[in-house]
């Protein structure tokens, strides 16, 4: 500690009493595994998003009013563009640093969602959602949906051709709600598409409402992790149910997080100069009534887009009261179902597998066949319908007619996930049987193979022989 820092710390300590809590925090133990860094990567991507986002907000104009671009980019000089599009042209080509920060913002958004989704997958696979962490798991599911919403509104703001097409489809999705869809669509869009209100409204959501919600939710998410302590992978001879094994916050975890944050920033900056992320000068502004081929959303919306593409032509009226249409089933019900399934899974697993007590040690998903099957089935399905969002590109690349490509995805989406889930279920059940085990219903049982393994004869501490019954003095 430098003298200045020491003096500052002492001064504050005398008034705020920092020493004991900060010392306690410094000694807090964090389990280590590379997969625990996924959530942290998402967090740092969010930091980058906020920093670059503030810069972009200084220049962006949330309006579709027609204005003339007078900047230095030849192709568009003197042309009339929607103000939102024009402001991003100006930002990208006439403001030093504008292009870099816009690209970093775009890549960071991809990274934020990707790391978030992988983090969720890790939680699901290893069972970190089990009691007592179900609440935080649900908070996390909420975060993913907010991240999707932030991503979609951000994708819309440049009002380029892709953005406009995406907004148009979102409008139709809202419209597809039976009975009340038109009112909902008009509430969100302020009238019939395209309205002048949609960009200002998406802007408010993207820069104010959603960031506030995401930061608030994330704070809860992190506080809960601190309060409930981190889960950990089983370690030979360590009673992970009662003890946390890991490295103290200072200096190991601090060094790791600081380094990771710098790497995230560095890689995002590097990616931004190597790839011209969403170059709006190539895409062009949105002109109502026009759309090009290759109209794909951002990758994390592929699954919804793919579902829209391969869902059969359905549109019927129920008692002349309401219309049920394909876009409603494929674009609203289906994603809703997937998220509901994800949200309910912890409770289903606990009931079906008769799990008891609290769980702090992560398990191999193959130890719980139900979970392995659920993850493979759900994510297999999502991946296949995501791939279906590229049916036009695939058909062009391979020469297979688009109809055939679509039918291929229809069939695989329905047939493959259940088959894969069943196969994994059977495999993991057999694997358990081969090892002479059943699905453990409490954590002590689940850990037994690790605690009574050969070679853990040292008895330095109770942590190392934690399965011995602890005397309970009264």
């Amino acid at each position: 500690m430098t003298p200045l820092f020491a003096w500052l710390f002492d001064t504050l300590d005398e008034r705020l009493g920092l020493r004991s809590p900060s010392r306690k925090a410094a000694n807090k133990v964090f389990p280590h595994n590379w997969s625990f860094l996924l959530g942290e990567i998402a967090l740092f991507a969010l930091v980058v998003l906020v920093l670059t986002g503030v810069f972009l907000t200084m220049f962006y104009r949330p309006s579709i009013e027609a204005v003339t671009y007078n900047g230095s980019f030849e192709l568009y000089r003197g042309t009339t563009q929607p103000a939102a599009f024009e402001s991003i042209l100006r930002l990208s080509h006439d403001i030093p640093g504008g292009l870099l920060f816009r690209r970093i913002h775009r890549v960071a958004a991809h990274l934020f969602v990707a790391a978030g989704v992988l983090h969720m997958l890790r939680i699901l696979l290893t069972g970190a959602f089990r009691r007592p962490r179900e609440v935080n798991y649900l908070v996390g599911i909420g975060l993913i949906t907010f991240a999707f919403a932030a991503g979609f509104t951000g994708y819309s703001l440049p009002y380029d051709s892709l953005a406009g097409t995406g907004i148009r489809i979102a409008y139709s999705e809202l419209l597809s709600f039976p009975v009340v869809g038109d009112s909902i669509a008009f509430w969100v869009f302020g009238g019939d598409f395209p309205t002048g209100d949609v960009i200002p409204r998406f802007f408010v959501f993207h820069v104010m409402v959603l960031p506030a919600i995401i930061i608030g939710t994330l704070t809860i998410h992190l506080l809960l992790v601190v309060r409930q302590r981190h889960t950990q992978f089983p370690a030979r001879g360590v009673d992970g149910h009662r003890f946390v094994l890991g490295k103290p916050l200072w200096p190991a975890q601090f060094a790791e997080s600081a380094t990771l944050m710098l790497w995230v920033g560095g890689v995002l900056a590097l990616a931004s100069i190597l790839v011209p992320w969403s170059d709006i000068t190539l895409i062009g502004p949105y002109v109502p009534g026009e759309v090009g081929n290759n109209a794909q959303p951002d990758w994390y919306m592929f699954w919804v887009e793919g579902a829209l593409r391969i869902f059969p032509a359905v549109e019927f009226s129920v008692f002349n009261l309401m219309t049920i249409s394909g876009p409603f089933i494929a674009g609203i019900l289906l994603p809703g179902l997937v998220f509901t399934g994800l949200a309910l899974y912890p409770f289903i697993e606990r009931r079906v597998c008769r799990l008891e007590g609290e769980w702090h040690v992560l398990t191999n998903p193959l130890e719980i066949p139900l979970r392995a099957a659920f993850v493979v089935g759900t994510f297999g399905f999502v991946l296949i319908i995501s791939a279906a969002a590229t049916n036009d590109i695939l058909s062009r690349l391979t020469g297979v007619p688009i109809e055939a490509a679509t039918w291929f995805f229809r069939i695989t989406a329905v047939v493959v996930p259940p088959l894969a889930a069943a196969a994994v279920y059977v495999y993991s059940t057999r694997r358990l049987r081969r090892r002479g085990r059943t699905v453990a219903t409490n954590e002590q049982d689940a850990m037994r193979p690790y605690l009574f393994s050969a070679g853990s004869s040292d008895d330095e501490s109770m942590a190392r022989s934690g399965s011995e019954p602890e005397p309970e003095p009264e």
């Binding site: 403001i95 946390v244 103290p248 190991a252 990771l260 560095g266 702090h360 003095p473």
Partner: protein, 290 residues
């Protein structure tokens, strides 16, 4: 209940590996920290100089990554690698006593490395402020000029040119430069003086008892909109500065410290009032550089 005593202490080290003292590691920290600082500087300089995005973007990436290496090597070279256990349900704060894992550096204090790291981090932090310069154009001499120039007609808010006869005795008109209506710093008050102008009014710029002053208060830039007939004073409603129009619009009361600049006034061939040039004195509130 006295369970605390049967437990291991709050934090127990079960494995500890001390890093070997390595001068190579120290040199890596030093070099990467210096490199990070240098690239951070390059980022700022090339961004400010309007360099290509690949240059300053690459410099930013390099600075961040080098600093990442420096931080990592600094900690691995200086602190023991400690693995510890801790009970999940910690005892309540207070009686728990001191934990044993306050991890102290093993190697002798190498304050040079610490300083290099702090300097590199500081430099990176400062460099990240460079984009602030992109937020607006460079001011240049924008604030020292107005829309007035030789031959520019005085017009009313509606754009009508003004003849001396249009301003009645004791009259006062709010005036803009032709083609500059609404340009706030160019607004002017045209006043028909009741008494002969005295020093320091520039007599050669007075036409037919008419004198023109900048309407922008030299205190904080409010429009000096009021004319107090009692003492023929110009009065700024914002902080009550008063100016004497018969004496070069000198401040006579209130916080304003400079006179309202006088506009060089003349007549063109058609008998309309025109400016003979821009203001000579600086318009509006104080500027940061004299």
């Amino acid at each position: 209940m006295n369970r605390g005593e049967n437990r291991p202490r709050p934090l127990e080290i079960i494995e500890r590996r001390d890093p070997p003292t390595s001068s190579i590691n120290d040199s890596i920290v030093t070099l990467t920290a210096i490199g990070a600082g240098a690239f951070a500087l390059l980022f700022a300089v090339s961004l400010l100089a309007g360099g290509p995005v690949q240059l300053y973007g690459g410099a930013l990436a390099a600075a961040l990554m080098l600093l990442a290496v420096a931080v990592r090597r600094f900690f691995t070279g200086r602190y023991p690698d400690v693995t510890a256990v801790e009970p999940r349900d910690e005892p309540a704060t207070g009686g728990a006593g001191v934990s044993v894992a306050d991890v102290e550096p093993v190697s002798p204090r190498r304050s040079f490395l610490t300083r290099a790291l702090i300097a590199a981090t500081g430099l990176l932090g400062l460099s990240l402020l460079a984009p602030v310069a992109s937020l607006g154009p460079s001011p240049g001499d924008t604030l020292r000029r107005t829309k007035w120039a030789r031959g520019v007609r005085l017009v009313t808010g509606e754009g009508d040119p003004v003849r001396p006869a249009d301003v009645a005795t004791g009259g006062l008109a709010s005036i803009w430069p032709e083609k500059g209506i609404g340009h706030e710093r160019s607004s002017v008050l045209l006043i028909r003086l009741q008494q002969p102008p005295g020093s320091p009014t520039r007599i050669e710029w007075v036409v037919d008892d008419l004198v023109a002053y900048s309407k922008v208060c030299t205190h904080a830039g409010c429009p000096v909109a009021l004319y107090r007939e009692r003492d023929n004073a110009l009065f700024c409603p914002c902080h009550q500065s008063t100016f004497d129009p018969a004496r070069g619009a000198q401040p006579t009361f209130g916080p304003a410290a400079r006179s309202l600049p006088q506009l060089p006034l003349g007549l063109d061939g058609e008998g309309y009032l025109v400016a003979l040039g821009d203001f000579e004195a600086q318009v509006g509130p104080a500027l940061p550089r004299g």
